[in-house]
């Protein structure tokens, strides 16, 4: 399979604003090649740069130095939970907005609203303001609206860490059905089981660099032993 993403010498730092001005380095001279159809699990401690790496790959941030190349014909989308909801609006209105932000027309988005509502298992709460939701309910809504995408490269940021055990199983199954073999996936997850089930390659990120890259069982074994 051909490469769909290539990172060369990517460095990323955030400028701090306000009185605490300065730079905080997150990615450090990172090289990476990802081929079509690969399913990659990304592991590492908090603050290792996992989410930032997804955002650089997704083109949301430019790297400070280095090059990011994406296959020009492939679409890429980043899914993450929790942020972006408007608390005063109902789950239904938020789902409409999320679907439209992902590129659907208003009519298409409206058609999907019932299916999204059903998947979330929110019941009557679907028409209540999101600010009245528990964190589990918010996550379920986030997952269901994220599943709408039909893109070639999916970047998933902790998206399977949703709700209770039963809902998590349902979410993993739904994701499996969605993923055809030609889709490329990069998954950030703190539960190793999810990575074992979904991925065949794992990357261990530490201090903004790749500490280890290889088959899932090998990388996870070393990661578990050292952390």
């Amino acid at each position: 399979m051909s490469a769909v993403i290539r990172l060369e010498g990517v460095t990323m730092s955030f400028g701090l604003s306000g009185a605490n001005s300065g730079e905080h380095q997150v990615l450090n001279n990172l090289d990476l090649e990802i081929r079509q159809g690969e399913r990659i699990g990304l592991v590492g401690r908090n603050g290792a740069g996992k989410s930032t790496l997804l955002r650089v790959i997704g083109g949301i941030f430019p790297p400070a130095t280095g090059k990011v190349w994406r296959h020009p014909d492939k679409t890429v989308a980043l899914l993450s939970l929790g942020l972006g909801f408007k608390g005063d609006l109902s789950g239904r209105d938020n789902a409409l907005l999320a679907a439209m932000l992902q590129g659907m027309s208003r009519r298409e988005a409206r058609k999907r609203l019932e299916a999204i509502g059903e998947f979330t298992e929110l019941g009557d709460f679907y028409d209540q303001p999101v600010k009245t939701y528990s964190s589990g309910m918010r996550s379920r809504l986030g997952f269901a609206t994220g599943l709408l995408l039909d893109t070639d490269i999916l970047l998933l940021d902790e998206i399977l860490a949703v709700g209770d055990h039963l809902f998590r199983q349902k979410a993993r199954l739904a994701l499996k059905e969605l993923l055809s073999p030609d889709k490329t996936v990069i998954l950030v997850h703190h539960i190793e089981q999810a990575i074992k089930e979904t991925c065949h390659r794992a990357l261990w990120l530490e201090g903004g660099k790749i500490r280890q890259d290889g088959a899932v069982p090998d990388v996870l074994a070393v990661y578990a032993a050292e952390t």
């Binding site: 955030f14 701090l16 949301i60 972006g84 408007k86 609006l89 027309s105």
Partner: protein, 258 residues
């Protein structure tokens, strides 16, 4: 994202935001007209009842000035925070950054439609009758809208790069209110050169003066100056939108790390 999708998205975001805002308050949508009316009421009491201003038809003079000024000041103030309040969304989707200030512009403009209708009712009940001159309102409104879009985008980017600009923009709007003839008449300035300079270099003062010429005084506004202001606003708006598109990812990085 096609232009159709972009505008449909702005429209949906603006409507949903208005709906959410109305649900927050007991009086809901009524606040759209109540708040500007209260402003006019307070200014009327202070300047007419207490200070005894001698501007003729002061209530209508004030209503035109304040109600049209609010459209500009509220929009730019809100738009200033539009990128930072949507940091969550900006950090996870590669969206055009102009989406956020433009949603605020549309949201405030929908509200302004109600305010504008209220202004018409006030003016007509006060005895002013519509005339052909009122067609001048169309170019005046379009030029004000272009100016609002330009200033809103600039405000949003400035606040995204340094939050302190948010405070400066708030203060700036208060200063602008004082120097734009919202509650005093530019024709009362004794120094003609100073009055001319104000109308030439302060676009808000010029627009408020022109609205009053059309609605209250039966005068034709300065079309040549309006055309120049319109062209300037259009070019400035297009350049700003282009820059926001080009440097969108840099703006995103700044918004998320701020």
């Amino acid at each position: 994202m096609t232009a159709g999708q972009y505008f449909s998205l702005i429209d949906t975001m603006a409507r949903l935001s208005l709906k959410a805002e109305a649900q927050r308050y007991y009086l809901g949508y009524l606040w759209w007209v109540l708040e500007p009316l209260l402003w006019v009421g307070v200014f009327y009491v202070v300047f007419f009842q207490l200070l005894g201003t001698r501007t003729p038809d002061f209530l209508m003079f004030l209503a035109v000035g304040k109600l049209m000024f609010i459209w500009f000041s509220k929009t730019v103030n809100y738009a200033g925070n539009s990128l930072t309040t949507n940091a969550g969304l900006i950090g996870r989707m590669d969206l055009p950054k102009s989406l956020f200030p433009l949603t605020v512009v549309l949201e405030c403009s929908y509200r302004q439609v109600a305010v504008f209708l209220l202004l018409f009712v006030l003016i007509v009940t006060d005895g002013f009758s519509p005339s052909m001159l009122w067609f001048w309102l169309f170019p005046l409104l379009i030029v004000q809208l272009l100016l609002i879009v330009f200033c809103s985008c600039v405000a949003a980017v400035l606040v995204a790069f340094q939050r302190d600009f948010g405070l400066l923009i708030n203060l700036g709007m208060v200063f602008l209110m004082f120097v734009s003839g919202v509650f005093w008449d530019i024709r009362d300035i004794a120094n003609m050169a100073a009055a001319d300079a104000l109308l030439t270099w302060n676009p808000i003062a010029f627009l408020l003066h022109s609205y009053r010429q059309v609605l209250l005084w039966g005068e034709v506004p300065d079309g040549w100056h309006l055309l120049n202001l319109g062209l300037f606003s259009l070019v400035a708006m297009l350049v700003t939108l282009r820059l926001m598109q080009r440097y969108g990812a840099h703006v995103a990085r700044r918004v998320v790390s701020a």
